[in-house]
């Protein structure tokens, strides 16, 4: 798991349900603890399960997520329950993110299922995922039924493939009926090139969420990372999304990270499709 805390600034954050104006700046905290249990059979098959404890600022209590269970052997993993989904697991889909809170306007704009750290909206949600990993490549498929006790809902199905070849990483994914919304189909393809002998690189992502059921447009994001000094990395992106409701179709962000060895300081400034600025700064540690 990990912990992080810092300041989160959002220009024109808006109003709460009572009509009070929300503060533009607030303290952001997250503590995530994954509770894993596993065992191995004499034949070398691994069985296990995971529950996540997560607290975010604004919660009244720490959430104890729904669980998933898995069986794994020879690179093939089958998981059942509150599973990671294929679309959410695409290797590069979040790679343009910057800052402490790991956000990017180059991410997908609409919804799709993922491991749910909070309580399910629908108790009877059930997922199944299959992943196969072999040297340099990973393919995965997932299926989420919003309510497995009855028929009639649209079930989400997604697939992804990741491949690394020398200095190039490729990633693609597709999701059907994203988040259980009928005909909300989405496509993702991305590539990242690491400059030989460095940690510097450049990437390009394309996400299509332009279905009538979703209307989130197409997003293209060009991004890069550059180690300006030992332990210090600058990252930046410029994103374009053609959704009708945008104030502007261009968004961008820049972030910096300073490695403390076991923890890092990070900060970012971004400007979104609503022409507002958001920024964060703080510290994150992994354990």
């Amino acid at each position: 798991g990990y912990g992080r805390f810092g300041v989160d600034y959002q220009e024109d954050r808006g109003f709460n349900d009572a009509g009070d104006e929300l503060s533009d700046a607030k303290i952001e905290t997250r503590l995530r603890m994954n509770i894993d249990a596993s065992t191995s059979t004499d034949q070398g098959v691994d069985f296990g399960g995971r529950v996540r404890l997560q607290y975010n600022d604004g919660d009244s209590e720490t959430n104890v997520s729904a669980a998933y269970l898995y069986v794994s052997a020879n690179g093939l993993t089958v998981s059942v329950g509150n599973v990671n989904t294929a679309f959410d697991s695409a290797g590069l889909i979040y790679e343009s993110e910057v800052g402490l809170i790991s956000r990017s306007y180059g991410n997908a704009q609409g919804d799709f299922y993922a491991f749910d750290s909070d309580a399910y909206d629908n108790n009877n949600r059930m997922g199944v995922a299959v992943e196969y990993e072999i040297a340099g490549a990973s393919i995965m498929a997932s299926y989420i039924d919003p309510d497995q006790t009855t028929d009639g809902q649209s079930e989400e199905f997604s697939i992804k493939a990741d491949y690394t070849w020398n200095n190039i990483a490729l990633s693609a994914a597709y999701v059907q009926n994203a988040a259980g919304t009928e005909d909300a189909d989405k496509y993702f393809i991305g590539a990242y090139y690491t400059m030989a002998g460095t940690n510097n690189g450049i990437g390009l992502n394309y996400i299509d969420e332009d279905s009538d059921a979703d209307n989130q447009g197409q997003t293209i994001v060009l991004y890069g990372d550059y180690e300006v000094a030992p332990m210090t990395t600058l990252s930046a992106y410029i994103a374009n999304n053609d959704r009708d409701s945008n104030e502007t179709d261009n968004a961008f962000g820049i972030g910096a990270k300073y490695d403390l060895g076991g923890a890092y300081l990070a900060g970012s400034i971004e400007r979104g499709y609503d022409e507002n600025v958001r920024a964060d700064m703080g510290v994150r540690f992994d354990f």
Copy 2:
């Protein structure tokens, strides 16, 4: 704790509150993690406590149970809080169960208190249990007050005794005001015979839940286990219950387990007093 997942089939599962027909087949998952804490005094007295994290399919979140605390010395254990009850702890009372989900129509048909893995229905429930173990024998008594803050409810009281002598295990239990229902008294007696030098055996259980407060009739179940091949055990039972509301008074089940060493595959088919069939198949692992 343990994890398990598989398929659960129930003929004519019925309808949900919204009137939708429920699927006969569903994916069944459970992840159970017991969180134990304990310490020992210099005199060799053990103190401890337990909380259980459990997720079942159909839950929106993992439940974090109410806790019990205990003190233990020289074979005598006193526990307080969300305790295991004597009737529920009788050594053979669940012994006719088959399959992944460990079910049997030969089990008690009505309610009684046990350790509650979910949230209490009544916040102010309080239990006390006393158990004494000595070579081959165990006796236990428990007391559950549905609401300890006020008088007037019926309190559940139960006792049990287990005894093993050579190849024979004997078990008996009695509960008064089961699950806090006045005059819902229940009786259990069971025996199991293991064939010398094998894991094969045969058992007979009798449960009387025929009080006017309960009206669940009397249940007799004859059951057995047979190792048909190394690692592979077949189990079966035939049960008779004379409750008025039954479609049939006879139920039966057959199950199989294949040991993977640290995990096992299990499946079962049963036919109940409602003349419907239920079945399960899947994998369970302990950690």
Copy 3:
């Protein structure tokens, strides 16, 4: 964490919401487990977080508290989230407590914020605390915003200082807008003297909660601890509070503890400002 269980007696405990008379005696249980995660950077800076699992009798489930996160180096600790507060952390403020449940009528009578083991009343509560420790001394300041998303509430601010010099411990604290109530300001000062070469001692605490916003009066408590035999300590206090609503301004308590090595037996009898008696007896163990 720790566990404890025993009997809690309260003369004239009163009535529940349904109008039923509450039992004077009840079984008291608590199981507290702190779940800590931490890491250290190469520079020797510690980062960590804490979530608390706690079950008290009367709860339907074990509570999983909101979390706090911290960074610590060279005696300076900054924490964010569900933090310990300065006023609640004053070294001697709870020192007159007796018995299993650790209670005293010499404690503060009104409210102020502390680490919240239960769910927040207000989801958007946010706290920050800073503590500095150096040989024999500790100073701390904390700030709690009842709702950090909007302006307009009163924020609690508190400070405390502790100092130990030879056989004398001194402690002082101040809180402004205690528990987010405007102008509910409180003052605390206390001292404890340990007799050289013994565990016996005597202390005096003064707490002023006499603001118009609070009206809990001023409390003075004189208390002492005396080891009457090896492993056995008697403690007693006499407290005076001048709140208008008191039946009597004088309260007192006496308690005993017997150390089992890793656990202890404890009991107490107290008489409060309402002229009623409360008592407890039981066992507590730490792990």
